[in-house]
Symmetry: C2
Subunit: 271 residues, 2 copies
């Protein structure tokens, strides 16, 4: 169920810089009925993230061949691209060639339709504009934030940044609807600018919803009419409780869900 | 020349969380004539770093067995400990057991006795107090900072933090002597608190040198009587040029070098 550089494999060399330094990027996406959801956006994001780190991205056709060889039907597809192999040390040898890993796993269950409960994380998200927005392999912050709670009834934890603004969830982006304006944290100091977030920001204007990327306070989040989390695997998920604040159904829920489902269908790449 | 969990191996499983997320720590140390320099400090630091991330550190005896099996004489020994294997996702399964990797490589050449030339990096070091000081596997910042220059005559690049204070080099800690006071950046927001730095801070008072860990401006660094870089592989290295500022020999050079050499001898673990 895995391929490394186009060959079946379950291991990666110890010289791989992904293992040594987290020197690479990754993507996780939904395959449904043999169709890769939002594939063009996923590949474009992978290529952008590689470029931001100075890594040569694999061809789109090469990755599609890798995925097709795993014959996914309904699956979570994960793609990892690292800078390649090198001996010890941060310097990059001239002949360093990227390694690519493609694997499939079962899709996680869809969150409940009535929405999910989330919490504030105690840990603050870090600040590093050079890496902000990139889905790179340096994910210790996410690991430590996710380790803050064990209660299975809590779906996600939200992180504030150094300045006390809301940044993101441990595995999701945050969207807040107030009136007909969709607010989402600006990700210039940290966080991952996910593909589902991007899709939602593109979709909103078609629904008569304005979009604002801006620093957001926790109070602004709690005062929103509707709070959503999103990522490529879970899609768009409503929050029903955060820190004692509860949300019921919203008049725009059905319209937004239908428009997003249509977009995902329109932007599916069939293997 | 490598062992994974006590067995000869050149690869690690794709489920390893070091590869997936950089979810682990590492150490690099000098072995000279079959003696591990500053071993007790190295192991203590590894154990502290593991504890800071909630990873169970391997026993000291287990690691020593791993190293001895590689029969190093003069070598750079690298130890990696990751949280272990898990499927996709940041959550840690209850049965997650650490993976350990031990490998040996040739020692890098000693820097020239007259000192080295260094530069300022353009990239700012990130801020994340939860990870500050820990030698973890999330090292993309170091990789990107090191990629800023190709000139082989430049030995190291120094990073400022978000507030414009000096933090560290891409692979070394910074020590600045002014009069009889040794200054070094406080590492509460980022950086790696290295073992050689620790050894120097312990040694200084014996030489009649006071120690101050404090935020340091670039100007304070440039005004120092003596600037040193240090890490466990290169030891203590004098800076002879930074941004047009030049340093010649210092009256304390020989005394400091002799005291450090003695400490390294006294604190060697023979295999």
């Amino acid at each position: 169920m895995r391929r490394v550089n186009g060959q079946p494999a379950d291991e990666i060399g110890l010289n791989d810089r992904g293992f040594q330094f987290g020197d690479g990027v990754f993507r996780t996406l939904r395959c449904e009925g043999g169709g890769l959801r939002l594939w063009a956006r996923q590949y474009a994001k992978l290529a952008r993230d590689c470029a931001a780190l100075g890594i040569v991205a694999p061809d789109e056709a090469t990755l599609l061949d890798d995925i097709a060889a795993l014959e996914p039907n309904d699956a979570a597809v994960k793609i990892v691209v690292t800078r390649g192999d090198s001996p010890r040390g941060y310097g990059v040898p001239a002949d360093c060639a990227p390694n690519r890993v493609v694997q499939v796993a079962p899709l996680p269950p869809r969150p409940p339709a009535e929405g999910v409960r989330v919490r504030w994380c105690e840990m603050r998200a870090g600040w590093q504009p050079r890496l902000a927005g990139i889905k790179h392999l340096n994910r210790l912050e996410n690991v430590l934030a996710r380790a803050e709670w064990q209660d299975a009834a809590l779906f996600e934890g939200l992180l504030l940044d150094r300045d006390g603004h809301v940044l993101e969830g441990t595995m999701s982006n945050v969207l807040a609807l107030s009136g007909r304006v969709l607010f989402t944290p600006r990700l210039d100091g940290g966080g991952v600018a996910g593909v589902m977030r991007e899709a939602m920001l593109d979709l909103a204007p078609q629904l008569g919803i304005a979009v604002r990327e801006t620093p957001m306070t926790p109070a602004a989040l709690l005062a929103a009419d509707r709070l959503w989390l999103c990522n490529s695997l879970i899609g768009l998920v409503a929050v029903r409780e955060l820190a004692g604040q509860h949300w019921g159904a919203h008049a725009l829920d059905a319209g937004v869900a239908a428009a997003l489902a249509q977009l995902e269908k329109d932007e599916t790449k069939w293997l």
